[in-house]
C-alpha cells in the first residue's frame, strides 16, 4: 500500500509538473530575449482554456481541433501584445516592461470577468472521466494526456529551437541581441515568433487542464506564480531548466503535501527554490 501511495503521489507530481513546465517554457523563452518577466503569460493560459471551452461548448468541436485552433488564436494574440505593449518598451529600463506585463495581467483577467463572469466552467472532454490503472496508479486518461501532450510539445519545441533557422535566430538573440542585429537577424520578427510560440504553449496547457481543474478567469494566477518559481529554480532563460524545474517542482509539491503537510502545499515550491538557490544561486541550469 505504501509503495502504491508513493507511486500515485509521484504520478500526481509528474502530471502537474508537466503543466508547470509548459507554462514556464513560454515564460523562459520570453525572458531569454526580452529579459522581462511576462506576468500576462498566465492570462494567455486562461484565454487558451476559454477559447477551447467556447469552441467545444458552442460549436461542438472535438477537444483536439479546439485546442489547436485555440493555440493559433492565442499565438496571434501574443504577437499583437508583443507589438503594441512590449515592443515600445524594449529599449526602456526593465521596470517599464514589468509594469506593462502587470498591467496586461490585470486588464486581461478583468476583461474575462466582464465578458464571461466568475463562474467556473467544466471543459467537456471525453477523456475526463475515463479511468485507467497502471501499476496501482489511478489516472484519468485526461491526466495521462496532459503528461503525454506536454512531453510531445516540449520535444517539438526542442526540435524547433535546435534544428530550424528561426530557432537558431532565437538562440542568437537570447545570447546577444545587439550582435544578432548586426548579423542581420530581424529582431522584431524573432520577438514576435517567440511570443507566438510561448502563447501557443500556454494555451495548450490551459486547454489540457480545463477538463481537470475547470475554466475561470482567475485560473492563470497560480500557474504563473509557480512558473516564475520554476524559471528561477531552473535558471533564468534556460529551456532545459524550465523543463526539469517544472517536473521537480510538481513532484516536490506532491510529495511534500503527501508526506509532510497538505496545509502548506504551496510552501514546498518556495522551500525547494530556496534550497536550490542556496546551493546553486543561478539555478540548476543557469549560467554563472
Amino acid at each position: 500500500m505504501e509503495a502504491a501511495i508513493l507511486l500515485q503521489q509521484v504520478a500526481n507530481g509528474l502530471v502537474i509538473g508537466s503543466i508547470y513546465a509548459m507554462v514556464a517554457l513560454g515564460l523562459t523563452l520570453i525572458f531569454g530575449i526580452l529579459h522581462i518577466g511576462n506576468f500576462a503569460h498566465g492570462q494567455l493560459y486562461m484565454l487558451g482554456a476559454f477559447a477551447t471551452y467556447w469552441l467545444v461548448s458552442l460549436w461542438g468541436w472535438n477537444i483536439w481541433s479546439s485546442m489547436f485552433v485555440a493555440m493559433g488564436l492565442t499565438a496571434l494574440l501574443g504577437m499583437v501584445l508583443e507589438r503594441i505593449a512590449f515592443r515600445p518598451v524594449r529599449s526602456a529600463p526593465h521596470i517599464n516592461g514589468l509594469i506593462v506585463a502587470l498591467g496586461l495581467f490585470i486588464a486581461l483577467e478583468n476583461i474575462a470577468f466582464i465578458l464571461w463572469g466568475g463562474d467556473e466552467r467544466t471543459l467537456p472532454s471525453p477523456y475526463a472521466t475515463k479511468m485507467i490503472t497502471l501499476l496501482s496508479i489511478s489516472l484519468t486518461i485526461q491526466r495521462l494526456l496532459v503528461f503525454a501532450v506536454s512531453i510531445l510539445l516540449i520535444f517539438l519545441l526542442y526540435l524547433f529551437i535546435q534544428k530550424t533557422k528561426m530557432g537558431k535566430a532565437i538562440r542568437a538573440v537570447a545570447q546577444d541581441p545587439e550582435v544578432a542585429r548586426l548579423m542581420g537577424i530581424p529582431i522584431h520578427r524573432v520577438s514576435s515568433t517567440v511570443f507566438a510560440v510561448s502563447s501557443a504553449l500556454a494555451a495548450a496547457a490551459g486547454a489540457m487542464v480545463g477538463p481537470i481543474f475547470c475554466v475561470f478567469p482567475s485560473m492563470g494566477l497560480i500557474p504563473i506564480l509557480k512558473a516564475f518559481v520554476v524559471i528561477v529554480l531552473g535558471g533564468m532563460g534556460s529551456i532545459p531548466g524550465a523543463i526539469f524545474g517544472g517536473f521537480i517542482l510538481g513532484v516536490a509539491e506532491s510529495l511534500g503535501a503527501g508526506y509532510i503537510s497538505s496545509e502548506y502545499k504551496d510552501a514546498f515550491a518556495f522551500a525547494a527554490l530556496i534550497l536550490v538557490l542556496m546551493v546553486r544561486p543561478t539555478g540548476l541550469f543557469g549560467k554563472e
Binding site: I16, S138, C214, P217, E263
Partner: protein, 402 residues
C-alpha cells in the same frame, strides 16, 4: 498678476474642475431625491463569484418588490429603495473596505458580506461603524461573538453538518470518515462540527486534510486520504471547488466511498461534474428547496424569467435580508440608526414570517441574536442520476442534537 493671485487663480480653476469631475455618486446623492440607499456587499469576483451573482440578483428582486409596493415607509413618507453594490472580491480586507465605504456614504444597513471569512473580518468593525448587516454564513461562531449588528436568517452548520454526520453514521451505517476542508473559518467550523457530531453518533474521523481557498489541485491530499481507507469523505468547501473536488475524488478514491458535500454543494455542481461521476454523493437541501410556498414559487419564476437561471438558496437568503432589514427600518422609523433597526428586527422577522414572505429557508422561531431557530433541512443522495431523500428534520431534537 502677483504670484499669490496667480496661485489663487489656478487653485480656483483646479477646484472647479475637480468639482465637475467628481465621482458620479456625489452628483447622484445630491439629485437622488428621497431614495434610501441600501448596501449590498457581494462576492462579484473571486472564487465565490457564483454566490455573489445570486446575491446581486436576489437583492435586486427584493428591492423591486419593495418599490412596487411604493417603497419603504419612514415616518409617514414613502421612499424608494436604492441598492448600492460593492464587490468585495471574496477578500476579507475588501469586505472591510466596503463596510467603511457604506458608513462614509451614510448607508447603515446592508446585505452581506455573506461568507464566513469576510463576516469574521467585518464584525470587528461594523458596530463601531454603526452598520447592521444580514449574513447567510452557516458558521454558528460568526453569530456567537456578541456582535449586536449582524443578522442571520438561515441555517447553520450545527444543523447541516450535524444532520450529515447523523445520516452517514446512523442511516448509512458508516463508521470511518475522512475530511477535506479549506483553511478559512468556514472550513475549520465544518471540521469541528462534523468531527464532534460524527463521534457522537458512533463514527470516527480518521484523517483530516486541508487546502487553500484558490486551490484546484487536490490530488496530493486525496492520495494521502486514500492511504487511510475511509468509508466516506466530507468536503467543507465553496461551490467553486465542488465540481473539481468531485471529479478528483472519484478518480483517486473510487465510487464506493460516499462523498458528503457541505451546504455550498448543490445539484448544479453535481450536474457540472457529471451525474455519473457524482453518483453516491450526499448533499444537504434546506428550506428553499424543500418548502414550496407561494412566495418561493413567485421568486423562483421571476428569477428564472429575468436571469434565465435557476434560483438558489443564496439569492433567496439575500432577498430575505433586504426584506427583513427594510421592514425593521420601517418599524424603527430610521434607516441610519443601526441599533434601533436591530431592536426592531425580531418583530420584523415575525411579521414577514407570518405573511409567508421569507423564502431563504428559515421558518418560525428565533433566537435572541436574530438567528432563526427552526429550519427544514434534509440530506439527499444521488443514485442513478436522481436525488433520493435520506433524512429530513425540522427540529434538532429529532436527531438528539439539542
Amino acid at each position: 498678476m502677483s504670484k499669490a493671485k496667480q496661485t489663487c487663480f489656478y487653485f480656483c480653476w483646479a477646484f472647479f474642475f475637480g468639482l465637475i469631475c467628481s465621482p458620479a455618486d456625489l452628483l447622484a446623492q445630491t439629485s437622488a431625491g428621497k431614495g434610501i440607499k441600501f448596501g449590498v456587499s457581494a462576492t462579484l469576483t473571486g472564487p465565490a463569484s457564483y454566490l455573489g451573482w445570486h446575491d446581486k440578483n436576489g437583492t435586486t428582486l427584493a428591492a423591486e418588490e419593495i418599490n412596487e409596493r411604493g417603497g419603504i415607509n419612514l415616518k409617514g413618507e414613502k421612499h424608494k429603495l436604492e441598492l448600492e453594490f460593492f464587490d468585495n472580491e471574496t477578500k476579507p480586507a475588501k469586505a472591510v473596505e466596503g463596510m467603511r465605504m457604506f458608513a462614509e456614504k451614510g448607508i447603515h444597513a446592508c446585505a452581506g458580506p455573506q461568507l464566513t471569512p469576510l463576516a469574521y473580518a467585518v464584525i470587528k468593525f461594523n458596530e463601531e461603524l454603526k452598520v447592521i448587516f444580514g449574513c447567510y454564513s452557516t458558521t454558528p461562531e460568526v453569530f456567537e461573538q456578541g456582535n449586536k449588528l449582524i443578522l442571520s436568517a438561515t441555517m447553520n452548520q450545527k444543523w447541516s453538518i450535524g444532520l450529515a454526520a447523523y445520516t452517514a453514521a446512523k442511516v448509512l451505517n458508516l463508521k470511518k470518515a475522512a475530511l477535506l476542508v479549506d483553511t478559512t473559518g468556514y472550513g475549520r467550523a465544518v471540521e469541528k462540527h462534523f468531527t464532534m457530531n460524527f463521534k457522537k453518533f458512533g463514527g470516527e474521523v480518521i484523517a483530516v486534510e486541508w487546502y487553500e481557498l484558490k486551490s484546484t489541485d487536490f490530488y496530493p491530499q486525496l492520495t494521502r486520504l486514500k492511504a487511510k481507507n475511509p468509508e466516506t469523505l466530507m468536503f467543507g468547501g465553496m461551490s467553486a471547488e465542488a465540481v473539481i473536488l468531485i471529479r478528483q475524488s472519484r478518480e483517486i478514491l473510487g465510487k464506493k466511498v460516499l462523498l458528503i458535500g457541505s451546504d455550498y454543494f448543490k445539484m448544479e455542481q453535481l450536474k457540472k461534474a457529471g451525474l455519473e461521476v457524482s453518483e453516491n454523493t450526499m448533499i444537504p437541501l434546506s428550506g428553499f428547496h424543500i418548502i414550496d410556498s407561494p412566495a418561493r414559487q413567485s421568486f423562483y419564476k421571476k428569477f428564472q424569467d429575468r436571469f434565465r437561471a435557476e434560483a438558489e438558496t443564496y439569492g433567496a437568503c439575500a432577498h430575505d435580508e433586504v426584506l427583513w432589514i427594510s421592514r425593521a427600518m420601517e418599524i424603527a422609523g430610521t434607516n441610519i440608526d443601526a441599533f434601533k433597526i436591530r431592536e426592531a428586527a425580531d418583530q420584523a422577522m415575525r411579521e414577514l414570517e407570518a405573511k409567508g414572505l421569507l423564502i431563504g429557508g428559515a421558518h418560525g422561531g428565533f433566537l435572541p441574536n436574530g438567528q432563526a431557530k427552526k429550519y427544514y433541512i434534509g440530506t439527499n443522495i444521488l443514485r442513478d442520476g436522481k436525488l433520493e431523500r435520506l433524512k429530513m428534520i425540522t427540529d434538532l431534537k429529532e436527531i438528539g442534537l439539542e
